[in-house]
C-alpha cells in the first residue's frame, strides 16, 4: 500500500513544515463553521461526555448557558491538556483542538447565524496560530519538533499489543497468554517474511479478531443459557406439571431474576412523557433490558438523527476530507504517524480504535438524539487512505449516511451483546494503557534527542510533577506537553549560554 503518495507525504513530513495549503485552510474553517452550527442545533457534539446532557436541552429542561457550562467543564482540560500540546508537538491538527471548542462555541452562540461565524473564526485561529507557532518552533536552536519524531516507533510497536491487554483483562490469563504468543509470533514472522510491511499490522488484526471472537462466543453461550432458563420459566408459568414432567427438565428458576419487566413499578421519571407507550414488554429476551422507556427513547433519537441526514452527510464528507489532506490525526497517537507520513499505519491504528468507541458513541447518540462530530470515527482511516479530496467528500458522506441509518439497529444489537459492549470498554482501556507507556517513552526519547541527560531530567521531571499535582494535564498528553515545555526551557538556557544543543 505504500505507493508514491506515501513517499510524497514522507517528503512533506521531512520538510517538517506545516504547510497548510489553501485547500486545507478553507476545509478547516468551513468544517469548524459547520460543526459549531450542528452543536448549536444540538445535532452533534464531539465530546462524548457532553452528548448525554443534550437531551435535557432539547426538551427545554435546561438552558443554553447551563449546557455550555457542562461543555466547558468537560472539554477545557482536553483542549489545553491534550489537543493543544499534541498539535504543537506534532504539527498536525487533532479533534480535541478543532472540535471541542466548536462544541462549546456552537452551544453558547445565542443566535443560529452566530454559531457558524464563531466556529469559522476558531478554525482560522487554529490554522494560522498553529502554523505560526510551528514555524517559530522550527527556527529555534534546540529543535524540539524534530526531536518529537522519536514518538512514532514506540507508539507503533507498543500499540500492537493492545488486543492482548484487552483479552487478558476481560477473559483471564490463559486467553491473554494465547493472544500474546500469537501476536508476538506474527510480528517476528512478518519481520522475517515481509520486511516492507509494518510488523505489527497482521498481529494487531489477529489480536482484534481473537478478542471479538471470545466476546461473541461468550455472549452467545450466555444467551443460550438464558433462553433455556426463560423456556423453563414459561413452562412453569403455564403451571402445567404434566408438561414440565414431559419436558423432563428440572426448572432452574432464579427467583430474583423472575420477569422483572412486569413486576417493575415504574417511578415517574422525567422522561416518562416520552415513555407513554404502554406497550408491556411482551417479548422478553432476557439479556436485553427491554424496558420500554429505553426502547422509545432510542427510537425517538434515531428518528431525529435520520431527519437531518443531509446535514450529517455534509459533515461526514468534511471530516473525511480533513483526514484525507493529511493535516489531521484522529486518535491520540495518530498525529505523530501522520506527521511522519505513515498514513497506512495511522489508518490501521485509528480503524481499531474506532471499535473501542463505537458502542459508546452509539449509546450516547441513541440516548440523547445527538450524534458524534466524527461519527463512529471510521471516516478518519478512510480519509487517510483515499487518493483524492473528491473521493474523501463522497466516501465520507456515504459512510455517515450508512452510520446514521444503521444507528437503531446497532443499538439493538449492542443491547443483546453485553460482552461486546464490555469488550469495547476493555479495548479503550487497553489502547489508553499502551499509548500511555508509548507516549511517555517516546517523550523521553525525544528529550534525550534534544538535550541528553538534561533533557531527560526536564521532561521526566515535568511529567512526574504533573502526576504529583493531581494531573493538571491529561496523562496521555503529559509526555508530549513536557517535551514542548522542556524544549522551550532548553532554548532559554541556550540563550543564557548555559546549554549547548546536541544537534546542529
Amino acid at each position: 500500500m505504500t505507493g508514491p503518495t506515501a513517499a510524497a507525504h514522507q517528503a512533506v513530513a521531512a520538510a517538517g513544515a506545516l504547510g497548510f495549503s489553501t485547500a486545507g485552510q478553507v476545509t478547516v474553517i468551513g468544517l469548524c463553521a459547520l460543526t459549531a452550527y450542528l452543536a448549536h442545533l444540538a445535532l452533534a457534539v464531539f465530546n462524548d461526555g457532553v452528548r448525554p446532557f443534550l437531551l435535557d436541552f432539547l426538551h427545554g429542561r435546561t438552558t443554553r448557558s447551563a449546557t455550555g457550562a457542562v461543555s466547558f467543564g468537560l472539554s477545557a482540560g482536553f483542549v489545553f491538556g491534550l489537543g493543544a500540546p499534541m498539535a504543537l508537538s506534532s504539527g498536525v491538527l487533532n479533534p480535541w483542538l478543532v472540535f471541542l471548542p466548536t462544541d462549546l462555541l456552537g452551544i453558547l452562540a445565542p443566535k443560529k447565524w452566530l454559531a457558524p461565524v464563531l466556529g469559522g473564526a476558531w478554525g482560522a485561529v487554529v490554522v494560522f496560530g498553529l502554523r505560526g507557532a510551528n514555524e517559530a518552533a522550527h527556527e529555534l536552536p534546540v529543535d524540539f519538533l524534530t526531536a518529537m519524531q522519536q514518538m512514532s516507533t514506540p507508539i507503533l510497536y507498543l500499540f500492537t499489543l493492545f488486543p492482548v491487554l484487552a483479552v487478558s483483562k476481560q477473559f483471564g490469563r490463559l486467553p491473554g497468554a494465547v493472544a500474546g504468543v500469537v501476536e508476538l509470533a506474527l510480528v517476528v514472522v512478518t519481520m522475517k517474511l515481509w520486511p516492507k510491511v509494518f510488523a505489527g499490522a497482521p498481529a494487531m488484526a489477529a489480536g482484534v479478531l481473537l478478542l471479538i471472537g471470545f466476546a461473541v462466543a461468550k455472549d452467545l453461550r450466555q444467551r443460550r443459557g438464558d433462553r433455556a432458563r426463560a423456556a423453563d420459566e414459561r413452562a412453569l408459568a403455564a403451571d402445567n406439571r404434566a408438561l414440565a414432567a414431559e419436558a423432563g427438565v428440572p426448572a432452574q428458576v432464579a427467583p430474583a431474576e423472575a420477569p422483572a419487566a412486569q413486576a417493575e413499578d415504574r417511578p415517574a421519571t422525567t422522561e416518562a412523557r416520552a415513555a407513554t407507550t404502554q406497550a408491556r414488554a411482551a417479548v422478553q429476551r432476557p439479556p436485553v433490558p427491554d424496558d420500554d422507556p429505553m426502547v422509545s427513547l432510542f427510537s425517538a433519537s434515531a428518528a431525529r438523527l435520520r431527519r437531518h441526514l443531509p446535514l450529517f452527510m455534509l459533515l461526514g464528507g468534511g471530516v473525511c476530507l480533513l483526514a484525507q489532506l493529511h493535516i489531521f490525526g484522529g486518535g491520540e497517537a495518530t498525529s505523530f504517524l501522520i506527521a511522519k507520513g505513515r498514513s497506512v499505519e495511522a489508518a490501521q491504528v485509528d480503524f481499531y480504535r474506532a471499535f473501542g468507541f463505537l458502542p459508546l458513541i452509539a449509546t450516547t447518540a441513541l440516548a440523547s438524539g445527538a450524534y458524534g462530530i466524527a461519527g463512529f470515527t471510521f471516516v478518519y482511516p478512510i480519509g487517510y487512505l483515499l487518493p483524492s479530496p473528491w473521493w474523501a467528500l463522497v466516501c465520507g458522506a456515504l459512510v455517515f449516511a450508512v452510520e446514521v441509518l444503521a444507528l437503531s439497529g446497532i443499538g439493538r444489537v449492542l443491547g443483546g451483546l453485553p460482552s461486546v459492549r464490555d469488550c469495547s470498554e476493555q479495548l479503550r482501556g487497553a489502547i489508553g494503557a499502551t499509548l500511555q507507556l508509548a507516549l511517555l517513552f517516546g517523550s523521553l526519547l525525544a528529550a534525550q534527542a534534544m538535550g541528553g541527560g538534561l533533557g531527560i531530567l526536564l521532561v521526566g521531571g515535568l511529567y512526574l510533577l504533573n502526576e504529583a499535582m493531581g494531573r493538571v494535564v491529561v496523562r496521555t498528553a503529559a509526555g508530549p506537553a513536557a517535551v514542548v515545555v522542556g524544549g522551550v526551557l532548553l532554548n532559554v538556557l541556550y540563550w543564557l549560554d548555559l546549554f549547548t544543543p546536541l544537534t546542529s
Binding site: 448525554p52 435546561t62 457542562v70 483483562k169 429505553m294 440523547s368 453485553p418 459492549r421 470498554e425 489508553g432
Partner: protein, 119 residues
Amino acid sequence: MTKILTGGLGKSEVAGRVTGLGLPGVEIVVSSDMDAAVQLRAGRADYFLGTCHTGAGASLGVLVGLLGSAVCHTFGRSVPTAEQIEALLDEGKKVFGYAVDQLDAVTPVLARAIAARTS
C-alpha cells in the same frame, strides 16, 4: 445493605478500590450503564459510579437519558471534597461520573460518603 453498581472504563478498578476499603453495609457490583439503568429504576440497586476519560461520556452513558439529569452528577476531571459529595447526596444524586485518571482519589471519598448513609 446499600448496593453500588459500577461501570465504564475503570469499573474493575473502582470495584477493587471499594472492596479494599472494607466498608460495612456496602456491596459493590461490576455492571454497565444499560444494566444499571434497569436496576436503579427497579430499585434493585442504590448508586452507580461510572468512570471514563471525560468523567461523563461512558461514565454516565445512557443513565442521564433514562434516569434524568436530576439524579446524575459528573465531577469531570475534578476531585470532590467530602462536603461536596454530602451536598450532592442530600440533593438525591444517585449516579456519579468521574475521570478514570482521578479514580484513586475520588472513589474512596465517594464510597465512604455513601457508606456513612447506610444504617
